[in-house]
């Protein structure tokens, strides 16, 4: 008797042609979300809001209903989707530039209004798609194509702490920061996303998962070095953990 031990998640496109750079964590994030959609039986009621950045090609990977939001406006678009179809499951998939720079207003207001949607924010501390410019999350000293000598707080100010900001939004039900730098952290990230998804299913409010992710191409590091950088350089600035949890109350 055959036993099925491995299956592609049902919402991943057949003949999916992955165009992310080698070693990029986007693919992992997309994959674990797809697994959760199956596990929670959400595939047929999901509407995804894609955004601008490396996340824009979501339709190449997901066989789901997807609406593309203009840069930064994912939470506003998600609000429109969810308010018009309150029985659907809605999540955004955005980068840190989209979520916390150009879209900070929409993000904070969406969370504060307690929209019953989940925001997934991939934080790779730079603008990956446009070639590695400084992002709102670029850490002090980090070299980017617009901070070639490293981010100087006197000139470019300090990085934005996404989860810390989001945690003070009363409408947010679940806020957590996680990482994809090891299989243990990948497992944990999946757990966190699951909690966020469940908070939406239970109508508890808005949820946000910030995922520290690699950008080996623009960081000019190998995939292994990139994951090492997350642990050594990003953990101290962006500590992992649950920043807000109203789900058990």
């Amino acid at each position: 008797m055959e036993t099925l031990v491995f299956q592609k998640p049902s919402s991943i496109q057949k003949d999916c042609n992955v165009t992310f750079c080698p070693g990029c964590d986007h693919g992992v994030a997309i994959r674990i979300i797809a697994e959760l959609l199956d596990e929670l039986n959400l595939v047929e009621k999901t509407i995804v809001v894609s955004s601008i950045g490396c996340s824009v090609f979501l339709n190449d990977y997901y066989n789901l209903d997807i609406i593309e939001a203009p840069h930064g406006r994912a939470l506003a678009v998600a609000t429109g989707v969810k308010r018009s179809k309150p029985d659907k499951f809605v999540f955004t998939y955005q980068g840190d530039g989209d979520f916390a720079s150009i879209g900070l207003g929409e993000s904070m207001h969406g969370l504060s209004r307690g929209e019953k949607v989940t925001a997934i924010c991939i934080n790779n501390t730079n603008y990956g798609m446009t070639g590695g410019q400084m992002a709102p999350t670029t850490i002090i000293g980090q070299k980017t194509t617009t901070t070639i000598n490293g981010r100087d707080p006197n000139l470019q100010g300090y990085p934005i702490k996404i989860c810390e900001m989001a945690s003070i939004c009363d409408g947010a039900a679940f806020v957590a920061r996680c990482s994809l730098d090891s299989s243990k952290e990948i497992e944990n990230t999946k757990k966190m996303i699951k909690k966020a998804f469940e908070s939406q299913i239970n109508n508890q409010g808005a949820s946000l998962i910030e995922i520290l992710s690699t950008c080996p191409t623009n960081w000019k590091l190998s995939p292994q070095e990139a994951h090492k950088r997350i642990r050594e350089e990003l953990y101290p600035v962006f500590p992992l953990g649950i920043y807000k949890d109203k789900t058990s109350k």
């Binding site: 047929e44 609406i67 593309e68």
Partner: protein, 356 residues
């Protein structure tokens, strides 16, 4: 149309809001700005009372993107705003157009540029008809001139948006929004359009649907734009609307839209009483502009006099349509100076003198 309802004294902004409710608008997203606040205030009470959505957005940028989200699910939805705040919406408008999704935007113009003031104006003809967003797209634009027409064309805006899966502007001004006038709020007269073949509602028993504007190949992007313009050609063939008054035998033909057209109409009547051969051509769809129709009426006229509450915006479409078949002059004022029929009659007489 079933005009069974009674005539009531209605404010223009309220007429829009009430018509939107009758048209089946399920979601309204907006941000306060004078002179259109009555729309949002009214809907903030009446939409929730019907189990529908009213949401005051954190900005016009957010409002247009909420509209984009709701429109992508095939839900009848609208926003309303004014001039400088419509400017903030232009990116989202371009997306809605590119995405082939239906949405209604009400623009109650005020005087600009920039902050200007809340006086009525027609200074946003270009903004609406020529578009402030990027790329090749068009916005179907309806310009009412009375409170009754605020109802008529709000209904039509919802219908055309659904019919063509396109963004439709209702272009009014502060005067039409703020004034009261008797009007009949009859039932929504149009058929409902099935959207089950494209709207996002979860990929149940079918492949996922993607609504987006990014296309990584020149061939695909070009094909998408050409398809968009095929649709625009159909709209041009079917939906051009205009009105005329004494246009056939006129020596001077006035062109005017929206609230200015109603004043021009009175001036034309006064001119006729004074024995002057003056007529009126009033485009109701500003895009598509009634180019061929105006060309036909303009041919053989001594003068086309375009009158607008701005420094000459529709004027460019008028000139293009007239195509040299007649001389075109312009009379206009910016900044909310409202014309009186007498003032326009003086101008007509002056122009007539000039022709001799």
């Amino acid at each position: 149309m079933t005009k069974t309802a009674e005539k009531v004294l209605l404010k223009g902004n309220h007429a829009i809001a009430k018509a939107a409710i009758n048209a089946g608008c399920q979601c309204y997203f907006g941000y306060p700005i004078t002179p259109q606040n009555e729309i949002g205030e009214f809907l903030s009470v009446e939409m929730p009372a019907r189990g529908r959505v009213f949401l005051q957005a954190e900005s016009e940028v957010a409002a247009i993107n909420m509209l984009l989200g709701a429109a992508s699910t095939g839900t009848k939805a609208m926003t309303s705003s004014s001039s400088l705040a419509i400017a903030l919406m232009q990116e989202g408008i371009s997306y809605i157009a590119a995405d082939n999704i239906p949405a209604v935007v009400v623009s109650v113009m005020r005087a600009g540029p920039a902050l200007g003031y809340i006086f009525p104006s027609q200074g946003d003809y270009f903004q609406t008809v020529k578009g402030g967003g990027n790329g090749d797209y068009k916005t179907l634009t309806l310009a009412p001139a009375t409170v009754q027409e605020m109802i008529d064309y709000t209904y039509k805006a919802f219908y055309l948006a659904q019919k063509y899966r396109t963004i439709v502007f209702l272009l009014a001004d502060g005067l039409l929004g703020q004034m009261m006038e008797p009007a009949v709020l009859y039932d929504y007269p149009y058929e409902e359009i099935d959207n089950s073949d494209w709207a996002l509602d979860g990929a149940k028993g079918r492949p996922g649907r993607w609504i987006g504007s990014i296309h990584r190949s020149e061939e695909v992007l070009e094909k998408k734009v050409l398809e968009l313009f095929k649709k625009y050609d159909i709209i041009k063939q079917n939906e051009i609307e205009y009105k005329t008054l004494y246009a056939e035998d006129a020596e001077i033909l006035i062109t005017a839209f929206g609230s200015v057209a109603r004043i021009a109409q009175a001036a034309v009547k006064q001119a006729r009483e004074a024995g002057l051969k003056v007529g009126l051509f009033r485009p109701i769809t500003l895009w598509p502009f009634p180019e061929k129709e105006l060309y036909k009426f303009a041919t053989g006229k001594k003068l086309i006099l375009d009158i607008e509450m701005n420094m000459g915006q529709m004027l460019e479409d008028v000139k293009m349509s007239v195509s040299g078949q007649a001389k075109v002059e312009f009379y206009g004022r910016p900044a909310g100076f409202y014309f009186t029929p007498e003032e326009l009659l003086e101008e007509i007489k002056k122009q007539m003198e000039g022709l001799k």
